[in-house]
């Protein structure tokens, strides 16, 4: 698609002094960063070095504590220093100290999507941790069975700002010839845990305090052969929960079939709009999944000049605009108005030349800015009331050759930006 009207070409001035709400964070070689408002921690993950997940505590005001060290932990299968499992995605709950981790094994060369044996069928992709304390506590593991693709290179997890749903990727369903690609979501309870059985675990405490823990422990140990464990007795809440967890749908997981827009090669991303509407990226498509429309559940439009491997989206928390970037060599940002979950007409093209972006974007809601990481800087694009990009841009110098990790916390009103300074990890 060619350029529409309303293009914006940014005009750059000099660097400005770093605003108080922009915080540089030591994050050398750490490209993925999340913030847990509930736990007051920054979360990083990596796969090349153990530990895989790093938690950096923040002060009560959300600032990085001087000389503080990150606490690290690895996924259960890596307990013996063997990297069996890769972290493909993490997400945090907006208010609860809950961390969601999507894991998968090393990518198989044949790009097969079907679990090949019982061990793979029993493999749980989703791990849920309580990170309120120094030592993370595994609350639940789920997303196993035939409805999940195996040995993937990418995955996505997303919890909306209201914490109502957890979206997961890499699901599949049988069609007449082979398999289709799907995404799925769990309804979350007030504590940020999936409602597995259709019942709210708040009303069935056994699912949270006892059974879920038992299930998680049992699965994590059984999955990875860490230690022998007792088999839960039949007919206990734990057993019931485990049955549901390991069943095809993972119990309580709603599947969103993506039809012919599903991509087998790149995990989709989904965003909560309202109970009936989910905005998702799949391959080169930006699509609206509308469960209230039985005859036209998906309305899809190609993301202009998209690339299945690189297009990244962020949805404005006001839900009225989605921003897309191509972080590999493309000097363009797209800003697309959204109404009831549907993109409207052409996106706004924003040329950020001569710079390119790396990593992710963040909407800085309290300052009406869209933050992009670039070479040695963060670019703060100014937004109008609708979320459209204005020609003004503010540049802040960052101690990083390339800024990859970037995340905003509305609770703390802090934009965290990763630098080239190494993050020290507590032994």
């Amino acid at each position: 698609m060619d350029e529409p009207a309303d293009n914006v070409t940014l005009t750059y001035g000099d660097f400005v002094p770093t605003p108080a709400w922009v915080k540089e964070v030591p994050a050398q070689n750490l490209t993925q960063m999340e913030v847990s408002d509930g736990a007051g921690k920054l979360v990083f993950f990596r796969n090349e070095t153990l530990p895989q997940i790093l938690l950096l505590p923040l002060s009560a005001t959300g600032d990085v504590i001087a000389d503080s060290k990150a606490a690290g932990f690895s996924l259960p299968g890596n307990a013996e220093k063997k990297i069996v499992n890769k972290v493909l995605a993490v997400a945090t709950h907006p208010t609860q100290p809950v961390l969601y981790v999507w894991q998968d094994t090393a990518t198989r060369a044949d790009d097969i999507v079907i679990p090949k044996d019982d061990a793979e069928l029993a493999y749980s992709h989703l791990l849920i941790y309580d990170i309120s304390q120094d030592k993370p506590k595994l609350l639940m593991s789920t997303c196993s069975g035939v409805d999940f693709m195996f040995s993937r290179a990418t995955a996505s997890l997303n919890v909306g700002n209201n914490g109502k749903r957890l979206f997961v990727s890499n699901m599949r369903y049988k069609v007449s010839r082979g398999y289709g690609v799907a995404m799925g979501y769990y309804e979350l309870n007030a504590k940020g845990l999936p409602i597995l059985t259709g019942a709210d675990p708040e009303e069935d405490p056994a699912l949270v305090s006892g059974a879920a823990d038992a299930v998680a422990a049992a699965e994590s140990e059984a999955d990875y052969g860490i230690a022998a464990q007792d088999t839960p007795e039949a007919e206990t809440p734990a057993e019931q929960a485990k049955d549901k967890v390991t069943s095809g749908r993972g119990g309580g997981l709603t599947m969103l079939h993506m039809g012919n827009i599903g991509s087998r090669y790149q995990a989709g991303t989904a965003f909560y709009i309202d109970d009936a509407h989910t905005l998702m990226r799949s391959g080169t498509y930006l699509a609206t999944y509308d469960t209230s429309n039985r005859s036209g559940r998906i309305a899809a439009v190609l993301i202009p000049r998209s690339n299945t491997r690189t297009t990244r989206l962020v949805v404005h928390p006001g839900l009225n605009m989605v921003y897309a970037i191509h972080p590999v060599g493309i000097t363009r940002v797209l800003a697309w108005p959204i109404f009831q979950g549907y993109p409207s007409m052409f996106p706004q093209y924003v040329s950020i030349a001569p710079y390119v972006t790396y990593g992710r974007m963040a909407v800085v809601t309290k300052h009406d800015k869209l933050a992009l990481g670039s070479a040695g800087r963060v670019m703060l694009l100014h937004l109008d009331k609708l979320g459209r990009v204005l020609p003004e841009v503010t540049q802040v110098k960052i101690n990083a050759t390339r800024v990859h990790a970037i995340i905003y916390s509305e609770k703390f009103d802090r934009l965290y930006v990763g630098t080239d300074v190494p993050l020290e990890v507590a032994p």
Binding site: M1, P4, A5, G259, D290, N293, L302, F339, M345
Partner: protein, 236 residues
């Protein structure tokens, strides 16, 4: 009988046998005219060509996906895309071009809207183009004409109310006979908009009820310049 003198015959023969020279002659005459006409004060017409990239708004709306403004085609069960624009009964295409590229004080000589038909398997399908009477914009869909600054519905879903949402009389009725660029004369509409007699709310296009389908190239998929609007104007 030959009325040409020998020298004229020679000139005519040369023209006939040396077309390149003839074209050079034409070019020379045109250059002279181009230099002479402005100096002489005689009005000179200019032509501009707008396309979809100049369009302020474009939308595909249909009752099957009433909240989407980009439902151009049924793709597969339950899936609609904007990759192509498949005109079927009930689906509408809306398009509006700002005319600010035409200088003030001009007279519209002609305006042509060029529609890129990419597939038309049925002979004689009928497309209508109507001038829009209602304004529409961001958030437009089958039920709403805009959602900024607040949601406003169409008088009839699909911009269908004659005399309220759209003009009663079509600007053009087109018989589609194959894969072609269809040229629609929209001079009167552009003149109305340019002179300010009517607000520029663009056009809505629809297929005749009872027809099957006509497929047009979509700017969401097809590269290049689509939906050209060629306007010729001259000083008043």
């Amino acid at each position: 009988m030959n009325y040409l003198t020998p020298s004229s015959q020679t000139f005519a023969r040369r023209l006939a046998t040396h077309r390149i020279k003839a074209s050079r002659l034409g070019l020379m005459l045109m250059t002279i005219a181009a230099l002479w006409l402005p100096a002489s004060g005689i009005a000179q017409a200019r032509t501009i060509t707008l396309d979809h990239t100049d369009a302020k708004y474009i939308a595909f709306i249909c009752p099957e996906v009433p909240q989407s403004g980009l439902a151009g085609a049924f793709s597969t069960t339950g899936v609609y895309t904007a990759n192509i624009l498949e005109m079927v009964p009930g689906r509408r295409m809306l398009m509006r071009y700002p005319l600010d590229k035409i200088p003030k004080g001009q007279r519209i000589v002609s305006a042509q809207w060029i529609l890129p038909v990419s597939y038309a398997p049925y002979e004689g399908e009928r497309l209508f183009v109507w001038r829009m009477l209602q304004s529409w914009g961001l958030g437009v869909n089958h039920t709403m004409r805009t959602q900024v600054p607040k949601p406003l519905p169409w008088s009839s879903p699909g911009a269908d109310a004659p005399g309220i949402d759209r003009a009663i009389t079509p600007t053009a009725t087109i018989r589609v006979s194959g894969i072609e660029e269809i040229i629609v004369d929209v001079t009167q509409d552009v003149e109305l908009w340019y002179t300010g007699v009517a607000p520029n709310n663009g056009w809505v296009m629809a297929l005749d009820e009872g027809n099957r389908y006509v497929r047009l190239a979509s700017p969401f998929y097809t590269a290049g310049s689509l939906f050209k609007l060629r306007i010729t104007y001259e000083p008043e």
